[in-house]
């Protein structure tokens, strides 16, 4: 009775969003304003990423949706269901198979390839917001490439704590021009943005901004020369299931023993690793 339109949004909305995406690709790191639409999921729950996904998805696409590294967390499932219910496109958990990957707060461990599009959900697109509350003024600072505020924040951290104090969402410098919020990916993932073969798109639904890092673009994490950028360190820790060390780990507590243990956060990477070992008959 009430048939839904392909990919939910009406075509003129999708076209407008695609135009914003094109502009974003043309000016790497620049936040393109757009008239964000309301979606059946709440603002702040991935509507920016979802609008990009819905306006780009075609019938032959294969989608992958992850939230905090997991394909099966409730929000990832909910977003994937919405995309599939309105498009009937195929989905996968395997990073290599996907054409469109929508993600919240992680870049997959499996390196991306040319032709893939990674769509990151953005809660707060403005990297200068914590030094300047006014949107009008931050827009001007970007125009003048005046990033002293962002650097000063880092400097003050070092004065107070002896190191930068950013957790996730550590600001990056894109294509030697714009300072950009990489979204709250852990610092562990920041280096993956640099010269990545895939197209990376960033959508902020509530704040109504779209920005992009085109393939093979220079992306550098902000850091002083003598206080180099630091990823999260899992020194002496490894994944309990796979023994992997060079991956982002979740910190978990063994219910039986009360001991802290670690496990690979990227759930599909973990599965693939376990299955590969099994397939080779090594375990």
């Amino acid at each position: 009775m009430h048939e839904r339109h392909f990919a939910f949004l009406d075509e003129s909305s999708k076209k407008e969003i695609r135009r914003a995406v094109l502009k974003a690709v043309a000016i790497p790191g620049y936040q393109v304003p757009f008239a964000s639409r309301e979606l059946p999921i709440a603002r702040g729950w991935g509507t920016g990423g979802l609008q990009i996904t819905l306006s780009l998805v075609g019938k032959d696409d294969i989608i992958k949706v992850i939230d905090q590294g997991s394909d099966e967390s409730v929000n990832a499932v909910s977003l994937r269901n919405l995309i599939q219910e309105t498009t009937d496109v195929a989905s996968t958990i395997h990073t290599t198979e996907a054409t469109l990957i929508q993600t919240r707060h992680r870049v997959p461990e499996q390196p991306l390839k040319e032709g893939q599009i990674l769509i990151l959900q953005v809660p707060l697109p403005e990297p200068l917001r914590n030094v300047e509350p006014s949107e009008y003024k931050t827009k001007k600072l970007h125009a003048e490439a005046d990033y002293s505020g962002a650097w000063l924040k880092l400097f003050e951290d070092i004065m107070c704590y002896g190191q930068a104090a950013t957790g996730a969402d550590h600001p990056v410098f894109v294509n030697d021009r714009y300072v950009m919020a990489p979204t709250p990916i852990p610092r562990f993932d920041n280096p993956k943005l640099d010269h990545n073969p895939a197209l990376m798109l960033f959508g902020a639904g509530r704040e109504k901004k779209i920005y992009a890092v085109p393939p093979y673009t220079k992306v550098v994490s902000l850091a002083f020369d003598d206080y180099p950028f630091q990823r999260e360190r899992f020194v002496g820790k490894k994944c309990r299931l796979t023994g992997l060390e060079n991956v982002y780990l979740d910190e978990l507590i063994d219910e039986a023993t009360g001991e802290v243990y670690y496990q690979t956060n990227d759930s599909s990477y973990l599965l693939e690793f376990l299955n590969r070992d099994e397939g080779a008959g090594t375990v």
Binding site: L152, F155, E156, M159, C160, D226
Partner: protein, 280 residues
């Protein structure tokens, strides 16, 4: 001393108005009353100000509050836009580009590299919730420095020079006394060793003994570094102590200028006479 020396700062016919102007006052200074148009309420804060500053010279600007001296300083530091006029710095494109017409990006560069400003109100010049070190580093960061250690070292040196104990370098100015805040501002202004310092009522509101400290500090810094200083004050004794030349402003205009001794000993304009006699 060569008399042929070129000024390092030249300001020509600078005007700053607040308001749109009208047929009554536009281009007709005779219809303005004390820099103000009674018809359209436009304020002519600075009218046809021309001045120059030479290498190593201290020029004092005196006048009562509302005479336009702070407005002048704000325009020179690009805090507010000039209505008209020309502004040249010898250190920028050999003084051939009118800075009032430069892009805001270039103006920011000049502000960071060639000028140092100390405001009467430290809230204007400092980030009150950032450490003293960070406040000084801000200027160096803006100049492109990306070495924490070198900035901290430089910050320490400057803090020592302005007599702030190093144990307080990580405290924020909000925890400092008024005199200390002014000294942090001075350290910040010196961060990039700019050739020119702009000092706007730096001792106003401070205790007399603290005033003397700060003035002495400025004198010492200037002797060591040979900066050129443009110094604004409503207090003639400050100007007498520091300035080589003095400019007197009233209602947005320069009414008298000359060597400080000369202006103080033989004031020509009735207003200057009144100022000088009230000092005695």
């Amino acid at each position: 001393m060569s008399e042929q020396q070129k000024p390092i700062l030249i300001l020509k016919d600078f005007n700053k108005t607040f308001g749109k102007g009208c047929a009554h006052c536009d281009g007709k200074p005779e219809n303005r009353r004390q820099g103000y148009c009674p018809k359209c309420r436009t304020v002519y804060a600075c009218q046809d100000i021309s001045l120059s500053l030479y290498q190593g010279e201290i020029v004092g600007i005196v006048g009562e509050s509302g005479s336009g001296k702070s407005t002048l300083m704000q325009a020179l530091y690009f805090d507010s836009e000039a209505t008209s006029g020309e502004y040249f710095l010898e250190a920028y494109h050999s003084g051939e580009e009118n800075l009032f017409l430069s892009s805001s990006q270039q103006q920011k560069w000049v502000r960071n590299m060639l000028l140092g400003m100390v405001y009467q109100n430290p809230m204007m010049g400092l980030k009150m919730n950032f450490s003293a070190q960070s406040n000084i580093a801000e200027k160096m960061i803006a100049a492109g420095n990306r070495q924490v250690h070198s900035m901290v070292e430089r910050g320490d040196t400057l803090l020592e020079q302005v007599h702030i104990p190093l144990i307080r370098r990580k405290d924020s100015p909000s925890h400092f006394s008024g005199g200390m805040q002014q000294r942090v501002q001075i350290a910040k202004a010196l961060a990039n060793e700019p050739p020119i310092l702009l000092l706007d009522e730096v001792t106003t509101g401070l205790d007399l003994s603290v005033q003397a400290d700060v003035l002495e500090l400025i004198q010492k810094i200037q002797r060591e570094r040979k900066n050129s200083i443009l110094l604004v004050s409503h207090d003639l004794s400050v100007v007498r102590m520091l300035a080589d030349r003095t400019i007197v402003m009233l209602n947005g205009r320069i009414i008298e200028e000359g060597l400080t001794d000369q202006v103080l000993e033989d004031p020509q304009h009735p207003y200057t006479q009144q100022l000088v006699y009230s000092l005695l």
